[in-house]
């Protein structure tokens, strides 16, 4: 039998080869601020493990390169990703001189390229598996548990990222809860207001175009500007409305961020409610009316259940978007993971940027997977779902 190559495998193997051989695996810095020195796999790891990693990478790249069974490809990607995760911690311990608390070791471009290459292989395998919604959430849960285990075991404690975390452990969790509060709270507010508004827009023609146009324009205002613009009116409210300041309304800080996120969230919620309701089959509505349902009964019993998957899609868009946008809140003192990102950018401390960016991406990614699964389950057996 002739050897057959997998096209995606060629790309993966090429990236992996570059990442393993040419690009540095880790960066060593004498302290937090100075420029780093690159270290290859063999330099960064104790002898046996460096060679072992290269062997594993070679074998996995071969699995990717050739046409191999799906199970083998998945196993290879999981093995490589696990080894990389464990060994970057080993590199941290190996490269940090004994007792030196200033030295910093972080993952370098080679490591990230290898992660990228084999995540591609994993993603391709998972895509081809065509997992059920529950299956996808289960995979997510396993991945999250694995990362948690690595963090808890202290395997990564010698990495710069974790040192940045250790220095800020308290504020990290504060900002995390602030971030989630901002993203989720504004979503809840947007749903509470947007859903009735969407239903109203569906029923009242002349209202629809006006409301959607205004919300469309709100979306075009750049986020940092909207955050900033809200400082003035909220400051005025805090100063002039009795009790407003007591419940936390202030010109800077959480309040303008919350309001801005709320305003951005309205459009997807309202628009998807309108689209979802408009997509309800005419026949179903006619039948409901013919059987003597009142407007309210029709809304509750027919229209809303049929439009539900589309409305959920709007909620997914909002949640993912809000988790990202909440980072901007840091610029106006609103807190959230953005604090670390902008501090890091200011100090050119890459690992601090990562401390803010990685949890944000992980949160958004998890939210997307979970809500996608929920949407798929909600849409099951409902042909109107494709109206989204």
């Amino acid at each position: 039998m002739a050897i057959r190559f997998d096209k995606l495998g060629v790309v993966i193997a090429a990236i992996a080869a570059y990442g393993a051989v040419v690009a540095p695996f880790a960066t060593f810095r004498a302290n937090r601020i100075v420029a780093g020195e690159p270290r290859s796999i063999l330099e960064a790891l104790p002898q046996w493990s460096g060679a072992a990693l290269l062997a594993i990478l070679g074998a996995a790249a071969l699995v990717a390169l050739l046409k191999t069974p799906l199970a083998l490809r998945l196993a290879a990607s999981v093995v490589v990703l696990t080894s990389l995760a464990l060994l970057i911690g080993v590199a941290g311990a190996h490269l940090t001189p004994e007792g030196n608390s200033f030295a910093r070791v972080s993952a370098a471009s080679g490591f990230w390229l290898l992660i990228f290459a084999f995540t591609l292989l994993l993603a391709d395998g998972l895509t081809r598996l065509q997992l059920s919604p529950v299956g996808r959430v289960a995979v997510l849960a396993v991945a999250a548990a694995a990362v948690w285990l690595l963090l808890a075991s202290g395997a990564w404690n010698d990495l710069s990222l974790l040192k940045e975390y250790t220095n800020r452990a308290d504020s990290f969790w504060n900002e995390a809860s602030r971030h989630v509060t901002l993203a989720l709270g504004s979503l809840v507010g947007a749903v509470a207001v947007g859903l009735p508004l969407g239903i109203l827009c569906h029923r009242v023609d002349w209202l629809r175009d006006g409301v959607l146009n205004v919300l469309n324009i709100v979306q075009t205002i750049p986020s940092i500007a909207l955050f900033g613009i809200l400082i003035a009116p909220l400051g005025w409210v805090a100063a002039n409305v009795p009790g407003a300041a007591a419940i936390g309304i202030r010109g800077i800080g959480v309040a303008p961020a919350f309001v801005a996120l709320f305003l951005y969230s309205l459009l997807p919620v309202v628009a998807n409610t309108v689209v979802g309701l408009a997509g309800v089959p005419r026949a179903a509505n006619e039948a409901a009316r013919g059987m003597g349902m009142t407007d309210w009964q029709r809304l509750r019993g027919v229209e809303f259940p049929l439009a539900f998957p589309v409305i959920l899609t709007g909620i997914r868009i909002v949640l993912v978007q809000n988790i990202g946008l909440a980072t901007i809140a840091a610029l106006i003192g609103g807190g959230g993971f953005g604090v670390f990102v902008f501090q890091g950018v200011g100090q050119t401390a890459m690992d601090l940027v990562l401390l803010g960016a990685v949890p944000t991406v992980a949160l958004a990614f998890a939210a997307a997977i979970i809500l996608d699964a929920v949407i798929e389950m909600a849409a099951k057996g409902r042909p109107v779902a494709e109206a989204a």
Binding site: T220, P222, V353, A364
Partner: protein, 250 residues
Amino acid sequence: MRAWLPLFLRLCVLALLVAFLVSPQVFEPLLKPLTQNGAPAIYNQGSLLSLALQHLRTVAIATVAAIVVAVSLAILVTRPAGVEFLPLSRSLVNIGQTFPPVAVLALAVPAVGFGEKPTLIALFLYGLLPIFENALTGLTTTPANVVEAARGAGMTGWQRLLRVELPLSLPIILAGIRLSVVISLATATIGSTVAAKTLGEVIIAGLLSNNLAFVLQGGLIVAALAVLIYDALSALERMAARRMGQVSAE
């Protein structure tokens, strides 16, 4: 009266925008009440017009690059030779869109340093996704019987792509470009946190000096640009779609 009103409003917005960019001093009395302690009402650390032009330039470069790459990739994965990449590229687009623009921007800094470059990279990467997604949708949902008829008429693969599939996907690709441009216009302002010359500079200067007038003028200029460009691209899309008897993909 309903027909000309939107056009009239747009022309007003355009006229105001141009007037403000060319001679912002005229508008000073309007913005003065927003400032405190005699702070300047009009941005004074550079020309608004040149910042706006640089903002547009950055967005334009990133968008053109994103269009070329995204459409080529979409063509590649919808040809028989690239079809193996199709499912994966769909998942990648889904995953990619969960990355917040700020994170992309911040992560690009260590790779290329401060200034315009990380902004260009972030805008390019972030702009790729909607265009690629729409191009993919367009190219994979061309009506089967139309493609069948093209094959039956004896068109080669290239002829089908150039004469049938791409023209038919044009409205939906344009919709992706529109989305991408609007996101980029807003995201470019964040570029100023990494020292890119964009209108974000005005907003950030306002945030730092607690000068609401700066924040407002920076934000409104970007919003006006976005609304006008969004409208122009929508009109282009409707023109392309109307010829095919399709409803515009709004």
